[in-house]
Amino acid sequence: MTCAPSAPEAAAPASWRAVTVRYPFRGADAVGPVTLAVRPGERVLLLGPTGSGKSSLLNALTGIVPGIVPAEIGGDVLLMGEAASNRPPSGWSAEAARLFQDADQTLCGMRVGDEIAFALENRALPEPEILRRIEVAMRRAGLVDAMRDRRTATLSGGEKQLVALAAALAQETPLFIADEPTAHLAPLAAARFRAVLDADTGSRAFIVVDHRIDDLAGCFDRVVVVGANGGIAADGPPRTVFRERFADLRALGVAMPAAADLDACLRDAGVAPSVPPLTVSEALETLDPAPAALGAVRAFLRGRVASPAERPGETVARLENAACAPLFGPVVLRGVDLAVRAGEAVAILGPNGAGKTTLTASLAGLLRLKSGRRHGALGGVAFQNPETQFIGGSVIEEIRQSLNGKHIRTKDRNAAADAAQQILAHWGLSTLSAAHPYELSQGQKRRLALVSLTATDRWPLLVLDEPTAGLDAAGARMVAEAVDGFRAARRAVAVVTHDLDFALMTCPRAVIVADGGIIADGPTAELLADAALLARAGLAAPPVMQALSWLERHTQC
């Protein structure tokens, strides 16, 4: 499927005509052929399964590919009607602003003000204009003026992402490109990005790639889906695409808003609203609580709220009045009492920088406590940065080492190789078995790290740190199924996540970390229904909670 632009092509901020991208030493194109044009003022949500080539398309647009990253480009890539190859990547900074996924890796100014000013200084804008833009961009990104002189090294992860957002906004370009802007953001910081999209009603065009789209779906005029074969699989207004192409997109493993799932259930029951909803509240606001509707909402919630274990297991790991601190760091959490049991999955929730990772590393026994006691066996951790874990020279070697350690007996090698291949096939990584782990996409790296950790039953406690960041819907479903499998195998699981829908789906119990300690510990659904608690922890209830409370309200009636 292709989309012809209705506006004159010269005015299109971005267009691709039969574009293909092929990287050196690769037998197939990473993406394409793609024909697509983005009109001025249009907001486009670019979706696709992990590894479908979305980032390659964006990189080709601003000349990063092949200007910096070598690749062979077929077809024509046009930016503001001019061939992208006409200028070096630096020559497009007045036309296209780019917000990268990981702000940490892209900051280059010492202070917040310097960071925001950087692109403007490069364009040799006059100083008063730069100062005006800094002020406007900081206000739009929700950064207070007092932060202007703060060193970026002292900011939390969420604050850095907001600084990167302000820096991109300050460029005031006709095209704004964001690559997974909310992947590492706490809900309130993600809401700030949505507010920016909502408020920008001018002629600036947006192209956003993201997998967490529940809060964003309503901001876009158009959804474009890149299929697994590298071509355009769907293109149209979000409401139409998510309703009419629901089954196809689900089969592709593309992220869709929870409202699309709810809409499908309501359609199956014959009670769907005439206008396809983009949010759960939209779907429910006119819904008559008739038995068919109640059944449809129950069907939607099935599998979205984790059930507690049928029989509570023995305690696997326990912290007693613990003071937790990172290596060489000061104490960040005090008076922590936390126990996890076999067959239990606990979500560790909280704002950026609250100490969630330190808590789980302490629980796993990888960090020594400053005071207090820890009981139980050591746990295995799937780290936030999956590259940290890799020790093998290839994907298959990574799995083999996890299965057997370094000292494999010769007669066991074939058996280990077979087992490793089976595991890779189960996780959809078979075709990558010879690739170096660092060559994989972010989502594939995350899956590999998880596989290598869970390939054996060595660890009775598993800690998964942001396991769904960078994963598409199919990848997230796979992780959710894996967590269910660990629980069934009587292993204890602690999941650190900003994805509250995922927490609700996989973890019957949640712990909220904030203000230097654990401020709440209880059933996930109960904690996520407590608005005051969520506000204190800088969290926002996931959309599924609206369906849950609707159902409770109408069932009681």
Partner: protein
């Protein structure tokens, strides 16, 4: 007060002073340099005396190495022995060693004065504005400064991942073998990180040779000239006295 001096002027004064500390082989000059640095840090910059004392420890340890080496291997230090023959510290060898010891501390303290009173961002901006430092080099320095804490954090993550595989918590301070084994993965991390930072900077318009604005670069003033002149006069007087 020193924080308000133009970084390039301060860098020039400190460099001249360091060269003098290396060339003037007199205990009195080195003691005076240390005393001036301590007075500047404690009385003017309001740094705690204990902090300033602690700053001297690594330089003192280095100096002690020089002192003992000179005392034990005096035949190898002919020039220093001749220069220090008249110094009031017993034998010539010990005198030479004491001067070397003091020189290590003096150089360390001059560097400490510069580092503790200079904003790195201001320095790099001033070098770009006044000394024509290439913005590519300047922002590479910024990125390198930001990389240091991230390298430390990455090293801790790698240590935790390895500890998990070996089923025991990491030692608080890594041993020599563990430290050596971190070099390659950290180098790989630094290279990847540098590549991503370069892409980010290029997409934000950083180009070779293009004119650019430098926001908030320190501007030299009369105060800087007074500072430089006073420092040079004081230095000349101390050299003369030595």
């Amino acid at each position: 007060m020193l924080t308000r001096i133009h970084p390039v002027v301060k860098l020039a004064v400190c460099t001249v002073w360091l060269v003098a500390a290396v060339l003037v082989f007199a205990a009195s000059f080195q003691i005076a340099t240390i005393a001036i640095a301590v007075v500047l840090l404690v009385a003017i910059e309001r740094r705690p005396p204990l902090f300033v004392l602690a700053l001297m420890v690594p330089f003192a340890l280095f100096g002690i190495g020089m002192l003992t080496t000179t005392a034990l291997f005096r035949e190898e230090a002919d020039f220093a022995l001749r220069v220090a023959a008249e110094a009031p510290f017993g034998s010539a060898a010990v005198s030479a060693g004491v001067v070397l010891f003091l020189r290590a501390i003096a150089c360390g303290m001059v560097s400490a004065v510069f580092v503790l009173t200079t904003d790195p961002a201001g320095l790099v901006k001033a070098l770009m504005a006044q000394c024509r430092l290439s913005p590519r080099v300047g922002y590479a320095l910024f990125s390198a400064m930001l990389l240091v804490p991230d390298l430390a954090a990455e090293a801790q993550q790698i240590r935790l991942a390895r500890a998990m595989r070996s089923s025991r918590p990491p030692r608080r301070v890594p041993g020599p073998f563990e430290t050596a084994s971190l070099v390659v993965p950290l180098l790989a991390f630094a290279i990847r990180r540098a590549g991503r930072a370069a892409i980010s900077m290029e997409t934000r318009g950083l180009a070779q040779g293009a004119p650019r604005t430098i926001l908030g670069a320190p501007v030299p003033s009369r105060r800087d000239a007074v500072f430089a002149a006073s420092a040079m006069l004081l230095l000349a007087a101390l050299v003369q006295a030595a």
